[in-house]
């Protein structure tokens, strides 16, 4: 855990020097280490705002200033972030002073925050009163970069957002582009897309299981779940050429057809993942330590999930029955028979159960795709959108020109705007693409599921212990590339 010692010290120090924090400024001595400007600011702001430095404070490279914890007076909609008063056995206090609280900084470099997430936690003993997530440590400017890449290149940019489920990002972007283009996608291409994205869902959930187990303390889960994931990644490498960040699903179809013998590869994957899942459930489901650490931890109610935009397995574990594949189906997924698991309690254990079941349902979908894979083209034949086959370039001048035009300036997309959503392993992943008739998007906005999840962290983490923070965060499966883009 990396803490900035300077700001930590100054906060505690200034708290003690100021006496009881909730009283107005001492008229005699504003030289007690805190200027009366701070009191002024305290009345103006409602929430805990960074950057409220004391005079004479010198910035170091990683300082964000003394973190002041301001008394609440919060908007009703944010009232869930309020601290709760604790009444001691022998001391009657209607509300504990700010002195009793300590600020703990978790991250951004932390082994268990699933990426570069920084959490500022206000602790009372070991109980958490308030949490403030600070993000932006992985901001890559992907939305701006998306405006400089053509629609064919856009997949490379977008696929690196949620790097555990890259095919879902690509699928969303390709679907959005195809809606603007108004092209028909052949059935085989759609089936290949579903095959690849459902396998990606399984590999993403396996990685989640690995890191979840690791964070809870079941260290061997890390090694077990990676075994199956490696087999899936090998299959991806066989089909797309890369283990991760494939740029395989593009507007018009997919980049290449499935190789010979893919059915036996997929059946092998299904077999070992199923037996692996059975092993993991035997290992974890009734393990008393696991159950103690996850049941009742990090609860979110359906109403909160709706208000904050939490979707996906996190919301379904709370009881909110919303799956984009069922409500707004895409890419022919409605022809496959699958169920959507919905939990009841909204705690970490339910999220675990929901994801395990989702893996099984994804394997069921993959089985159906293997049985019913239609023959045909793997991409649309519209030459204005997809490049011609490589052999044709030697034979036909027109093919060469098309190829050149598509790979240098790209295809033109008619004017319009569209919001397309898919169900990524983390929730609803949506892209809002605005085109002004050129070869590049005018605006690419990505609605990422982990952004809403991280926003809802304070709601889930109040009144937990510090160790439960790790369990909650691990069970929510946030991916910081998704959050910061």
């Amino acid at each position: 855990m990396s803490e900035d010692p300077k700001s930590q010290e100054s906060t505690v120090e200034s708290q003690h020097q100021d006496g009881s924090g909730s009283e107005p400024a001492d008229p005699e001595g504003s030289d007690k280490g805190r200027s009366h400007g701070a009191e002024e600011r305290r009345r103006v702001h409602d929430m805990w705002v960074a950057g409220t430095e004391e005079p004479g404070w010198v910035a170091t490279a990683t300082d964000e200033g003394a973190q002041e914890l301001l008394p609440a007076g919060l908007d009703p909609a944010l009232a869930t972030q309020r601290g709760v008063a604790v009444v001691d056995d022998y001391v009657e206090e209607p509300r504990l002073d700010e002195d009793e609280r300590q600020v703990l900084n978790m991250g951004p470099q932390h082994p268990a925050t699933h990426g570069v997430l920084r959490l500022q936690i206000e602790l009372e003993g070991e109980t958490i009163r308030r949490v403030r997530p600070i993000i932006g440590y992985l901001h890559t400017g992907m939305e701006k970069t998306g405006e400089t890449l053509t629609f064919m290149q856009g997949g490379t940019n977008v696929t690196r957002m949620d790097y555990l489920a890259p095919l879902h990002n690509e699928l969303c972007f390709a679907l959005a582009t195809e809606q603007l283009l108004d092209v028909d996608i052949p059935d085989r291409a759609q089936a290949i897309r579903i095959l690849m994205t459902e396998l990606n869902r399984v590999s993403s959930h396996l990685l989640w299981l690995a890191t979840f187990g690791l964070d809870i303390g079941a260290l061997s889960m890390m090694l077990y779940a990676w075994r199956e994931r490696e087999v899936i990644l090998e299959f991806f490498e066989k089909v797309t050429g890369l283990r991760m960040n494939h740029n395989y699903i593009r507007a018009g179809g997919v980049a290449a057809d499935l190789p010979e013998g893919w059915e036996s590869d997929v059946e092998h994957i299904i077999g070992i993942v199923r037996s692996g899942l059975a092993d993991y459930e035997a290992l974890l489901n009734e393990n008393p330590i696991f159950v103690e650490r996850t049941q009742g931890i990090g609860v979110i109610t359906p109403a909160e999930a709706r208000a904050y935009g939490v979707t996906g397995p996190n919301a379904r574990a709370a009881g909110l029955d919303y799956d984009v594949r069922k409500v707004f189906p895409y890419s022919g997924i409605e022809q496959y028979d699958f169920e959507v698991p919905v939990g009841a309690h909204g705690d970490a254990f339910d999220r675990y159960i929901v994801r395990m079941e989702e893996m099984r349902q994804s394997l069921h979908i993959v089985e159906q795709v293997v049985e019913t894979m239609p023959p045909g083209d793997y991409r649309t034949t519209d030459r204005k959108v997809t490049p011609p086959p490589r052999q044709r370039i030697d034979e036909s001048m027109e093919a060469l020109i098309h190829h050149f035009k598509l790979f240098t300036s790209g295809f033109e997309v008619p004017e319009g705007e569209v919001y397309q959503a898919v169900e990524s392993p983390r929730g609803e992943l949506g892209m809002y693409v605005v085109s002004k008739g050129g070869t590049k998007p005018w605006r690419l906005h990505v609605r990422t599921p982990s952004f809403a999840t991280v926003q809802a962290l304070p709601v889930m983490m109040t009144d937990l212990l510090v160790a439960d923070v790790i369990a909650t965060l691990a069970s929510l499966d946030p991916v910081l590339g998704d959050v910061d883009r």
Partner: protein
């Protein structure tokens, strides 16, 4: 498609939302192979009441809030809110125009608590001030960053790639 009867047949909840506010203009979009959904354009003044009407009509899941910089158009910015009604299985998109000389808009954090981070990001990236937001500070960029990166007049910031001579 602006045939009122067709819209009413397909999306009853959205049309009640649009009726709640005077300046709302309804249009629909049918994606390829998908179901029709509704886009409501509204003026800045009526925007909070429209959003409140949307929540009351059953669009209880907050999905997205973002902005688009049209640069050469007046008003320059569009703030786009995406909502979903899981009960009706419908999407709703609300668009508000925000001019360049006065880039302010009311906050909807009191209606949907989830718009908090989205409005912060929109301020960070575009400079649109959300009045009434509890904590409008930088979210993705460092605190002391100047400028609003996703505006069209903010350059991408690419550095020229030079191939250094080998030593």
């Amino acid at each position: 498609m602006t045939d009122e009867s067709q819209i009413d047949a397909v999306i009853p909840a959205a049309s009640t939302v649009a009726e709640a506010v005077e300046s709302a203009e309804l249009s629909t979009f049918t994606p390829r192979g998908g179901q029709t959904y509704v886009i409501i354009d509204v003026s800045r003044d009526d925007y909070p009441s429209l959003v409140r009407a949307a929540l009351d009509a059953g669009y209880e899941t907050f999905i997205d809030l973002c902005a688009v910089d049209h640069l050469a158009r007046e008003p320059r910015f569009d703030v786009v809110v995406n909502l979903v009604s899981t009960q009706h299985g419908e999407r709703l998109r609300i668009k508000v125009g925000v001019p360049n000389d006065d880039p302010e808009l009311a906050t909807i954090t009191s209606i949907y608590a989830g718009s908090n981070f989205y409005e912060r990001e929109t301020w960070d990236m575009f400079g649109i001030v959300f009045e009434g937001h509890p904590d409008l500070t930088r979210l993705l960029m460092p605190d002391e960053w100047e400028g609003h990166p996703l505006r069209k007049d903010f350059r991408i910031g690419a550095i020229p790639v030079e191939f250094k001579a080998t030593r």
